[in-house]
Amino acid sequence: MSATSGPWSVALRRLRRDRVAIGAAAAIVILALAALLAPLIAPYPPNAQPDIVGMATLPPSGAHPFGTDVFSRDVLTRVMYGGRVSLGVAVLSIALSITIGTAYGAVAGYVGGATEAAMMRLIDALLAVPRVLLLLLALALWGAVGLPALILMLGLTGWFGTSRLVRERVRALSRGEFALAARALGASHARVLWRHVLPSALTPVIVAATLGIGNVVVLEASLSYLGIGVRPPNASWGNIIQEGSEQIASGWWIALFPGLAILVTVVAFNLLGDALRDALDPRK
């Protein structure tokens, strides 16, 4: 019996029947493709400023469906390139968060006792810190950081919740019968944890990660909007909106379209996450 095939194959069958989930997944695929293929399919070069006087801040038109910005750059092109950064940062930092969170939670849940209590107290404390303030402080202290450092910071501040989820599952499972059976057969602690406990504990983590991507997209956008996340000349949805906010009265489209891109992304990930959770729910 494989520990994961059961719930996952059932979930997949349920998801295939769930029209909302399919729509959400399709939206994500389209957004991801638009971002990945931006160099091939974007209508203009990413930072082209064809005519900074005559073509600045033009409203949406056939040639520029999302209009142009104050430097005469095509907003659609910038939103596509911005998607590469926004989605890439979100996916990588979530990957980092769930790796750290899973490792930490698994160890805490498996060792138990006072070590576990101390580890989880620390998590309680860290969860009580407003993440935005922590990131503000860190990013302010470090000054201009590159994308890798930004991903690192987002990842390092995003794993507390995951570790809690994993700890709960591992606690329940590692005291469970099949873990005992594996131990009785002479498997080492690490092996029991890695081969038997973790695969079953990961279900809620996958759901949380899916829901979390939306959160990180918003968080990165907020930081970029505040001028301390992704910085120009790199475009991200957040810093395009930041530039648009300065033109809000004369060029609403600059802030509107990247915002809609964020909105569609986050809604899609939230819907997919909800659908995944329902599909994986053994009670249904």
């Binding site: 810190v129 407003p130 303030l133 503000l136 302010a140 907020s222 986050v266």
Partner: protein, 323 residues
């Protein structure tokens, strides 16, 4: 109840200590002096810089600096703000009330709105109203707060100039208004930032509350209530709602950090002179004492929020009262 409060107070101390430690670590891990911006200019002579470093204990061993830092946080001594040229505590004192007004307004409105929406949805579960409003709530729930703020600003301050663009009061006319006029002026300035936060927060509350109500609707005691001959409305309002409020209050406690983070960003959009604006401008000016102080005050507010949530939760649920 008393035991609960004692435990929470102890936890609060731990949280603030952890935050103070993290802040200290960040400052000392960061490249350059904590006073980099103020001192790293060519006009400041090395002697002056050394004097400053000595005055702030930066030439001491790290452990000693840490102990002093924790001690000063414990005493509530938050240092001197270079950018404002006044004590950090003073700068905080003038910003905090504005943040509290904004957050308090948004919190009260969204609890009322969120719960009302959820009750309506649960009462008509599966109907067009339920599904339509769920979709709408999801959209608001998924919005970045700064973008929603910008869009509201665009709609109701620029296109339809109903509300002012920024600030707490009209910078020129407020002085000349009567009491009522001043009140209206404040409300008009509060409207858009509070609306931004309220829309987002009430969406989160409604989503959670709806799920909680539907959960309770499956509980045995709601069946008992129906077997007593209560109408669906009475079952929902008198039994289900009251039972599900506890989890919503807990959620609010857990959401408090996110709410504070949201307030920080919304304040920036509307130039609302609260903690968020203070923090972002302190960052822009690399005013580290002020930045660290806002982080610590944020942590204290978070802890206070979760303690309040616990106390309210215990009031709503007698089982917690005896815990």
């Amino acid at each position: 109840m008393r035991r609960l409060l004692a435990a929470r107070a102890a936890q609060a101390v731990v949280v603030v200590a952890v935050v103070a430690t993290v802040v200290f670590a960040l400052i000392h891990l960061a490249p350059g002096d904590p006073f980099g911006a103020a001192l790293e200019s060519g006009r400041v002579s090395p002697e002056v810089r050394a004097e400053w470093r000595a005055r702030y204990g930066l030439d001491r061993p790290l452990a000693e600096q840490y102990v002093r830092w924790i001690g000063s946080v414990a005493r509530g001594d938050l240092g001197w703000s270079f950018s404002r040229n006044r004590p950090v505590a003073g700068a905080l004192a003038s910003a905090l009330p504005n943040t509290l007004v904004l957050m308090g307004t948004a919190l009260l409105l969204s609890i009322a709105l969120g719960i009302a929406a959820a009750v309506l949805q649960a009462a008509r579960r599966g109907s067009l109203v339920d599904r339509g409003s769920s979709a709408l709530l999801l959209v608001f729930y998924s919005m970045p707060e700064f973008w929603l703020g910008l869009m509201l600003l665009l709609a109701f301050a620029y296109e339809l100039p109903i509300f002012p663009v920024s600030g707490v009061v009209d910078p020129v006319m407020h002085e000349y208004m009567g009491t009522w006029g001043r009140f209206v002026d404040r409300v008009r300035h509060l409207a858009l930032p509070a609306l931004t936060l309220t829309l987002l927060l009430s969406a989160a509350i409604a989503r959670h509350q709806r799920a909680a109500l539907l959960d309770v609707a499956r509980a045995d005691f709601t069946r008992t209530a129906r077997a007593k001959g209560l109408s669906p409305r009475a079952v929902l309002l008198r039994h289900a709602l009251r039972n599900s409020l506890g989890t919503t209050i807990t959620l609010l406690g857990l959401m408090f950090p996110a709410l504070l983070g949201g307030a920080v960003i919304v304040e920036t959009v509307f130039a609302w002179p609260g903690m968020g604006s203070l923090a972002t401008s302190a960052i822009a000016q690399r005013d580290y004492p002020l930045v660290s102080a806002t982080a610590i005050v944020g942590a204290v507010m978070t802890v206070a929020g979760s303690v309040i949530a616990d106390v309210l939760g215990a009031t709503a649920d007698p089982r917690l009262r005896d815990a």
